[in-house]
Symmetry: D2
Subunit: 141 residues, 4 copies
């Protein structure tokens, strides 16, 4: 099932995140996307914390990032997260980061629903699937 | 120019790198690849530090990571870095991480030679290009 | 000069900040205090970014942290920063972190005004000193 | 019981650890001390990993750090860890970091043996105590 669900959140680049080029280190973006993702899920109605409390984990299986322009110290990052698709145990996200309306990064990640006990992929919980119903992408999109 | 140059280095997963799943957080891998890359360049004969001292930077423009199995606390990561191609201002790397002979991650990054002053792409320095000569990939590979 | 200046800011513990104990890793607190400090200075009227733009740096010379109770994933940290004293080139901060009204950490740091060019301690800029005037601690405090 | 046990390990400053001052960010030192501590315990004969496997955790209760001179990118940090004292559930460590023979940081941490299940302080395991016997500090030291 494909969805239109998008959510935006803002985050400031911390001093400790800069490197000696004066850029936010490229490795930090994974955290930025994680914050975007968690806030998007919270907005959708699902707390990632409560998911783990129920014995379900969502590790990242794949990540792709394009770095178009640097993020600098104290920049306010506008992170837009699009939960694009749920397919079996896999959940697909797309991200855009803007600073002052300028697009500085695009990215995508694939996460997998995994049972904590067996470490094996599982179907997402029913209540999670239901949350998507309002955001289903129409066939003619 | 395509090259065969490969280098391996070993790194232990630090406690501070684990997350509450007990995995090394997916965002840490960017640092692992950076260490692999820097050590590969050092082995090739180039110090990244001296490159920056000459006003040349190598920011990451693109990264793609596959997470196949988790890395756990105290695991000895064997990081193999393949400097695969130099094409204009762009330098391509491929990575594999093994733990006890098991492949847990593959990845690739594209870096760009940039002049510190202008922040614009530039040709790599001559001495850097020469270092590749011994590792050129044969046409019939 | 001693001051009463205090400022509070809130920050959520990121997933990537947890370790396999399920705690926010003890090394992250330095970033939390940095965020508290930067926001406190911003509230006071000084941007740390603009300070660096004028060639002045504020490295940390000393840090002491008490960890009283763990911070967990998704906890909302209330960070209270007290800019306690300016003494020559040194600036003293005290911090408290609360989660749901419970005190989980206290800390202090000493920062030093340093000229970027010479890397030597310098007097803080006049405009910075003036910002403190409204918050001077009375003798009988 | 006070001990003389000291151990040294070497670590390179990673690019991602630098900040825009060109220093290793002050928050990274907690990781450096952790690496020093884990390697010191391993040398003593105890794996921190196996300790956790037995349901025992060692969270940090207190840390104090003096930053005397910056650590720069690619610097080889020589971290000397002194396990100075075991007192009830508390274990005391002292650290020195040298770069090219120059002392750049001193620090101390207090860790507490905690049962994973109850999250309460406990006595250290017998085999751990025995490891210290060879390193007991003489009264006239």
């Amino acid at each position: 099932m494909k969805t239109d669900f998008k959510h935006s959140t803002t985050l400031r680049v911390r001093y400790g995140e800069t490197d000696q080029m004066g850029y936010s280190y490229y490795g930090n973006y994974a955290q930025y996307f994680e914050v975007g993702r968690v806030e998007a899920l919270r907005e959708l109605g699902m707390s990632y914390k409560s998911l783990e409390d129920r014995g379900i984990m969502l590790p990242v299986a794949h990540m792709e990032v394009n770095y178009k322009a640097p993020a600098l110290y104290d920049d306010a990052l506008q992170i837009t997260t699009h939960i694009s698709e749920l397919k079996g145990a896999r959940l697909f996200f797309h991200y855009e980061i803007h600073v002052n309306e300028k697009l500085i990064s695009t990215a995508s990640t694939t996460l997998v629903f995994v049972a904590k006990e067996t470490m094996r992929p599982i179907s997402p919980p029913e209540d999670f699937i239901k949350l998507f119903d309002n955001y289903l992408k129409r066939a003619n999109d």
